[in-house]
């Protein structure tokens, strides 16, 4: 927490090892130490086992790792139910809610499916019905896919992170035509882009996230706290918007 009281909740963090980056062992202890270093109070975390090996076992392992960790909130990885790997859509979201999962992340590129296609639709419908936010990395999808999924499910909150600095033309169009698409701060690196987005679309469309550990949390922390935004907007982006999404959206299991 900053001396001016800004609480930071990380909507984009990960436990586990990475096969191609030197990010440590990805333990809970390392994650908590990193959060302390950067003044981050709580984090929504996934696990690289779910992303880079097997969603089903990774999702279960994540619940065991964050059990008893009040600062870490689990985020599961979804798959289309075409092969039954994570159960039926109803089974998937029921298990997620019973396990205290607060959001769902999708990797359509790495997991080989079309986010906006018919195969993913049933599980996306179930995720939306359960009120779980859907988290995406920009590199894992396309903006037309994001828009199509958002338009088909107006009550599904979608958070797209990892924008980089080259996609404002596309992202701005989707933000203008939807109300349920949000952007994460992890690698949101257009010059003055954060301020431009807030001015154009409102602070409620932005959420703090670091992309840790593959991205350095110093980026998002510095970008937000040294932004030209007022303290109210910084508080909303730093924590309030995510709290609202999680509190208002998740249906009691």
């Amino acid at each position: 927490m900053s001396s001016r009281g800004h609480v930071l909740l990380d909507a984009d963090a990960m436990l586990g090892r990475h096969p191609a980056r030197d990010v440590g062992a990805g333990t809970v202890a390392e994650a908590l130490a990193g959060m302390d270093r950067f003044g981050i109070s709580e984090a929504l975390v996934g696990h690289t086992l779910s992303w880079l090996h097997d969603p089903r076992t990774g999702n279960q392992a994540l619940l065991e790792l964050v059990a008893g960790q009040p600062r870490l909130h689990p985020c599961w990885v979804m798959l289309p139910d075409t092969c039954g790997e994570t159960g039926t859509p109803a089974e998937f979201v029921t298990a997620a809610l019973e396990g205290g999962v607060r959001a769902v992340r999708a990797y359509p590129v790495d997991h080989g499916y079309d986010l906006a296609g018919v195969d993913a639709a049933p599980v996306l419908d179930a995720v939306a019905e359960a009120g779980l936010p859907l988290l995406l990395d920009a590199a894992q999808t396309t903006w037309p896919q994001v828009e199509a999924v958002a338009a088909a499910r107006p009550h599904l909150a979608i958070v797209v992170g990892g924008l980089g600095y080259r996609v404002l033309r596309q992202a701005a169009g989707v933000l203008a035509r939807t109300e349920n698409v949000h952007l994460g701060l992890a690698n949101l690196s257009s010059h003055c882009g954060l301020e431009w987005l807030v001015e154009r679309f409102g602070e409620q469309r932005l959420l703090f996230g670091t992309g840790a550990p593959t991205r350095d949390p110093a980026e998002a922390v510095t970008r937000l706290l040294w932004s030209e935004l007022g303290d109210g907007a910084v508080a909303a982006i730093g924590a309030g918007n995510l709290r609202s999404l999680l509190r208002e959206k998740v249906r009691v299991a």
Partner: protein, 278 residues
């Protein structure tokens, strides 16, 4: 918490160090939208964070037209002379000798910028020879884009130029740009004291930066942001939080680059001492 991160947490500009951004640009860029790419917004961002100075080349110069772009760079410097110094962009296809002749003595320019990837021409090619001869003769630093595996500006090519022109100061922009590139850049800088690693980019972390400083020393690593191509605060944040001593952080953030920009004064002093020597 160091004084810089303390200032950040309080959301006030830092004033404990002179921060110099060794890698900046200015103006629009066709590949993507930059919300506010002009010098006024650049100064505003610098003031917000407490960055004293930035050394820049206009996007026009690197992307399309060196002559018009160098004039644009000079105009940006004129906008805030105490805050900006220009890099003279040399495009190997657009009259290198003429551009160096036109701007080489202009005090608004403090370095030369090369972008071999954009200009599709190797750093080691003969069209760049006037740049290296100028740099060797004057001490004017040369910032070149680098990228691991590039056919035009990979780290072995930086080393080749450092060997051929041992008096030249070469800023390796992005320090190779990727984790593999960082390893290669460190090895080159360890062997070639004239090579200085500049750390902006999309794949760098504070841990990478700390490793560079451990391996090559703080006088061969400089902060750059690439702004407004990329927001300045991305790279600056990595340096703020990286595991560096106070002295090393001061050198990386501005001390070294401030010294490197003194090449004209150094040359004047050298000439003066030669005249007065018995």
């Amino acid at each position: 918490m160091n004084p810089l991160t303390a200032a950040l947490r309080e959301r006030r500009p830092q004033h404990s160090l002179r921060i110099v951004d060794a890698h900046a640009h200015a103006g629009p860029y066709s590949l993507f939208f930059i919300p506010d790419a002009g010098p006024a917004a650049m100064v505003r961002v610098m003031d917000r964070c407490g960055v004293s100075h930035a050394v820049l080349s206009s996007h026009l110069a690197i992307q399309l037209d060196a002559a018009a772009g160098n004039a644009a760079t000079a105009a940006v410097v004129d906008h805030a002379p105490g805050r900006f110094t220009g890099y003279l962009t040399v495009n190997p296809w657009q009259d290198p000798v003429g551009e160096i002749g036109k701007w080489g003595d202009d005090p608004r320019f403090g370095g030369v910028k090369l972008h071999p990837d954009l200009h599709v021409y190797p750093l080691t090619g003969p069209r760049y020879a006037p740049v290296w001869e100028f740099a060797q003769r004057t001490g004017c630093p040369v910032l070149t884009h680098t990228y691991d595996g590039s056919p035009y500006n990979d780290l072995p090519m930086v080393e080749e130029m450092a060997v051929r022109y041992p008096g030249a100061v070469i800023l390796a922009g992005h320090a190779g740009a990727t984790p593999l590139g960082f390893d290669a850049a460190i090895e080159v800088a360890q062997r070639r004291p004239g090579v200085v690693l500049e750390v902006c980019g999309s794949y760098n972390t504070g841990a990478d930066l700390a490793r560079m400083v451990r391996e090559v020393g703080p006088r061969q690593v400089v902060f750059g942001s690439d702004f407004p191509f990329i927001d300045l605060r991305m790279s600056l944040g990595r340096v703020l939080f990286s595991d560096l001593s106070d002295d090393a952080r001061a050198a990386v953030l501005g001390g070294t680059m401030t010294d490197l920009l003194q090449w004209r004064d150094n040359a004047r002093r050298a000439r003066s001492s030669q005249v007065t020597a018995p």
